[in-house]
Symmetry: C3
Subunit: 461 residues, 3 copies
Amino acid sequence: AQNCCKSADLREQATNMRLRLPLLCIILEVILIILFGTLVEYNVDTDAKLWNANKNQSATRHDYENEFYYRYPSFQDVHVMIFVGFGFLMTFLQRYGFSSVGFNFLIAAFSLQWATLMQGFFHGMHHGKIHVGVTSMINADFCTGSVLISFGAVLGKTSPVQLLVMAIFEVTLFAVNEFILLTILGANDAGGSMTIHTFGAYFGLVVTRVLYRPNLDKSKHRNSSVYHSDLFAMIGTIYLWMFWPSFNSAITNYGDPQHRTAMNTYYSLASCTLATFAFSALVNPEGKLDMVHIQNAALAGGVAVGTAGEMMLTPFGSMIVGFLAGTISVLGYKYLTPVLESKLKIQDTCGIHNLHGMPGVLGAVVGAVTSALASPAVYGNGLQRVFADGEPGEWNAQSRGGFQAISLVVTLGMALIGGLVTGGYKVGKCSECMLPLGKSFDLIYFKFTTVIILCHSNERI
Amino acid sequence: AQNCCKSADLREQATNMRLRLPLLCIILEVILIILFGTLVEYNVDTDAKLWNANKNQSATRHDYENEFYYRYPSFQDVHVMIFVGFGFLMTFLQRYGFSSVGFNFLIAAFSLQWATLMQGFFHGMHHGKIHVGVTSMINADFCTGSVLISFGAVLGKTSPVQLLVMAIFEVTLFAVNEFILLTILGANDAGGSMTIHTFGAYFGLVVTRVLYRPNLDKSKHRNSSVYHSDLFAMIGTIYLWMFWPSFNSAITNYGDPQHRTAMNTYYSLASCTLATFAFSALVNPEGKLDMVHIQNAALAGGVAVGTAGEMMLTPFGSMIVGFLAGTISVLGYKYLTPVLESKLKIQDTCGIHNLHGMPGVLGAVVGAVTSALASPAVYGNGLQRVFADGEPGEWNAQSRGGFQAISLVVTLGMALIGGLVTGGYKVGKCSECMLPLGKSFDLIYFKFTTVIILCHSNERI
Amino acid sequence: AQNCCKSADLREQATNMRLRLPLLCIILEVILIILFGTLVEYNVDTDAKLWNANKNQSATRHDYENEFYYRYPSFQDVHVMIFVGFGFLMTFLQRYGFSSVGFNFLIAAFSLQWATLMQGFFHGMHHGKIHVGVTSMINADFCTGSVLISFGAVLGKTSPVQLLVMAIFEVTLFAVNEFILLTILGANDAGGSMTIHTFGAYFGLVVTRVLYRPNLDKSKHRNSSVYHSDLFAMIGTIYLWMFWPSFNSAITNYGDPQHRTAMNTYYSLASCTLATFAFSALVNPEGKLDMVHIQNAALAGGVAVGTAGEMMLTPFGSMIVGFLAGTISVLGYKYLTPVLESKLKIQDTCGIHNLHGMPGVLGAVVGAVTSALASPAVYGNGLQRVFADGEPGEWNAQSRGGFQAISLVVTLGMALIGGLVTGGYKVGKCSECMLPLGKSFDLIYFKFTTVIILCHSNERI
């Protein structure tokens, strides 16, 4: 019981790393390797035998039709967003500069492997095997993005061990939610307004609520952002901003959907940026630009066209959505974030509610409306290439819009319950040390890791 | 009248931002959205109906022939140059580090939208509509690049409001000049030695001349470049350097021209870099390398093959051009920039005359000479793929070279007059407060924005 | 003799730059330009006449089959690794921050030109001409990578003049070794575990041994890494990490091999990262993560699948290899590097033995074993697309594995002898000033450059 309480007394950046972190990393990686060895196979585009057999059978199949050439440049852009974009975006908090880049690296490297298994298990099994190729790599990176969004809410309050355990739970629930949305409800969400942003944001917000620590003076840290921190953070911002068109278009169908999605996102972001500069100066009493707004809200336009981007949203529609997203994001930073902290005890370190939460919900709504307005007259033969059930005769736009709306509700539910389960597994007081809810979060992690580690008594707790 | 004078008394980094910047951003974005709504349509490669209708008609049209796959990787490289390259390149001036990245972001986000409209209006209308796709995105980014080049000359002397107004004018004139060169004169300028670099540089130099402020001690700022400023600036330099092959080849014809342009640029830049290191050490009394030279002159090789890069310039020719470009650029920084400031009152903050002005003119001349030497014997059936009028029977190399030379003269004229009009709209003294020319620039902006803002009296001027 | 000794008395960052560096750069570039003018031609994919002639003859040849579209995105990723990755990786040494980026830039710009000639000369001549295209550009960047690896060992001990001379020798020997491996022994080494990493590492280690300077207190510099140095270094690390899949797959065959190589590398790196975090914390008495480990060892997974990545290694196999590579790399930093310095007088500034040396050898061994296990049953018709001599009837896996093993031995021999020749041309004491071996290295450079410069007496020595 005494150990338990001590472990609950966390300090910034990882206490007890001595054995817990190394052993957790090694055990997780060994489990991953064993599961990959038993479950994972090359798909037809990456297997020497299958790809070349296939080619011989079909005279029209050429090497340039390998999915690698359609998707790999997009994959690399997404990869840059995950590792450089998310990593450096969070360096604006001077105090957590290196943690944000370093822990981002660790969590992402773990999550993409675990996501490959979970996404394969829930919606990619072929005769008992998970088939992998560049599309599964993109999907794994997408899932990783969701974990990193949640990381943005708890930055400064968690050790890498806790972050890894959070990733185990969040990746699993992400895959379940994705399965419900894409496979059961047949929803469209190529850029992940719902699956990635809404899910990641509300999951993270619940976890940070559970972890609430009254003494964490967030605003002090934020104010200590300095010249170089801001320039490093701008590296993250700019890379996310530039490559968001690749993010939203990475797994859409080939041809016009991929092309259109990239372009819609481009216009949404440009419009969002002007809204961000405008409202950032407007809400400041002295008319000064707030760097935190520029670094974050200018990206909300990418989030908000994550669902509708592949549809015939038009540049006009994209720009309106982007403008709204930038506006609500800045207003969120200014007026909502302080309320969340003071009233709801939600310490949202990086403001993910403003960048991913609200714009994600907006994106889901825009996606539902755009689906409900889709018609064969506008999409022609391309209807089926955007909507899986878009066969001209059977097309029901209202029904599609309804399923999109249900998908948002499901995602919000999964994120809230998932975050609660992950963050506060044992509701109420800890049975051993009578610590309140927030502390029991750490207790669970402690227990989880002691079970794994086995040699509890050898730790320096 | 008193307000007018006060407004003319600008301080570094945006006075009067309180309402002018937000309202200007909002009004501009609303205008953009309305114009996009009425004028812009998806092109055949991005429209669901058109692309899929087209595919059915032609048995040979496949998704991999969508222009997205030919141009999108190049587009992303160009995008990185515009937002990371230009943004960080200017951080070498420690004092303006964040302004350069932040204002770069704002101006670029606005300019690419405005450029889409202007370029579409002047040379991309189809039945009264502007058709957009990845090629229009690249062209919009190119035009934005020109605005950012001009920004390099006035950095530290202008508010974001002024920069936005400059962008409105410059983008418009850029589109007119581009129309004259590409459509009327049939000029080749895929990498924009003339349209982007020469135009942007001389436009910016005239504006900075008009804005001349004797108290601005530029050299002091430059000397204050420090360790980290230089490393941030090198991020900008290196990204521009690496992706310049993509920049020059982004809108050339598919196949050999795109491939050849990228390679010629690669060799020109490599050769230019050695010339830069050589002459930077040579012109320094102690043989030391000057970081400003390395950060800027090493890029001149990309500028100087912007016109001829798609031609059969050969790696040999490219390397000679690159070597010359690096040499004149370093010599310009050393000997010409101080003269421009002291004799002509042109304060070229970032030295754009050395990086874009002279190498741009060199590139135009090299393009004219290479065109004049082009022959069916060397180009074979590829002649028409490089030169629009390259039909074997009608080919007249001397005429083509002549039109290229005329294009340079037109560009210089447009840039000089355009810069003068933009910078010093009201020539002579201000009629209200009798301030000289340089101050009236601000006055115009003031008037322009007060007209827009309507609520002049509410501003804190 | 007095000059000789003086010249041997180098200080950090380039003495005698005044004339030696500029003249060396100019002379080298002039030689390069002349050799390019006489020897280099566009290949069929970049030549206007050849590409378009070819297209007419073959009805199935389309612009999208130009190698540009298969390789250029990979080339750009490799280019980023060479200029940003290697350049910024070495900024973790605060003292050498700018030298590492700046000299990296110079050496790389020279080496890629020289490599084009040397690689063309040894294994790319067609009727007396070297044919260039995007594949030769990638190969030149690869060779440059090898020189930059060696640079990592001698950082802080060499002037740019010495680095350029080292590059002349190393590029030449690289091309000879590559010729022996790929052409004579028919070895597979698409990602360069042997040709790039093993060769570059052991070459550099021998050179740094020859340059041994007892007073260079390396550990002091390393300890002076600070917050911002570490963030800059992480830029290098992350870019190398993200783009390593492109590096290893850049010159493999089109289709499944390129796709598979990228994916194998991705999984190897993810696994390696977890191993790195685990062992970095494990070997530290306080369980703290060592930033130098994170920045370097996490990349070893990419090196170690450089040979076997294109084979049917499976994600499972890749992850095991990555895990081993990360482990030996961290252990190398912790236990081997200090021994190398204290016992063998090898001052490995950036720890290239841990990042490139041992993982490179591991990669060669993995490649040999994977080759020896390759069978038509697993590869099907794809066997020949991975192994040049993989014709089903004649395939002998054991023999292929044997040749791979011989290739490693040859590479080690070439690197050791090459490094000795380059670093210590004149073995023993200097005949003029009786300085020991280490100093004579500089003497040779001095002599080499004086011969070139001709105007020895004018130098400020």
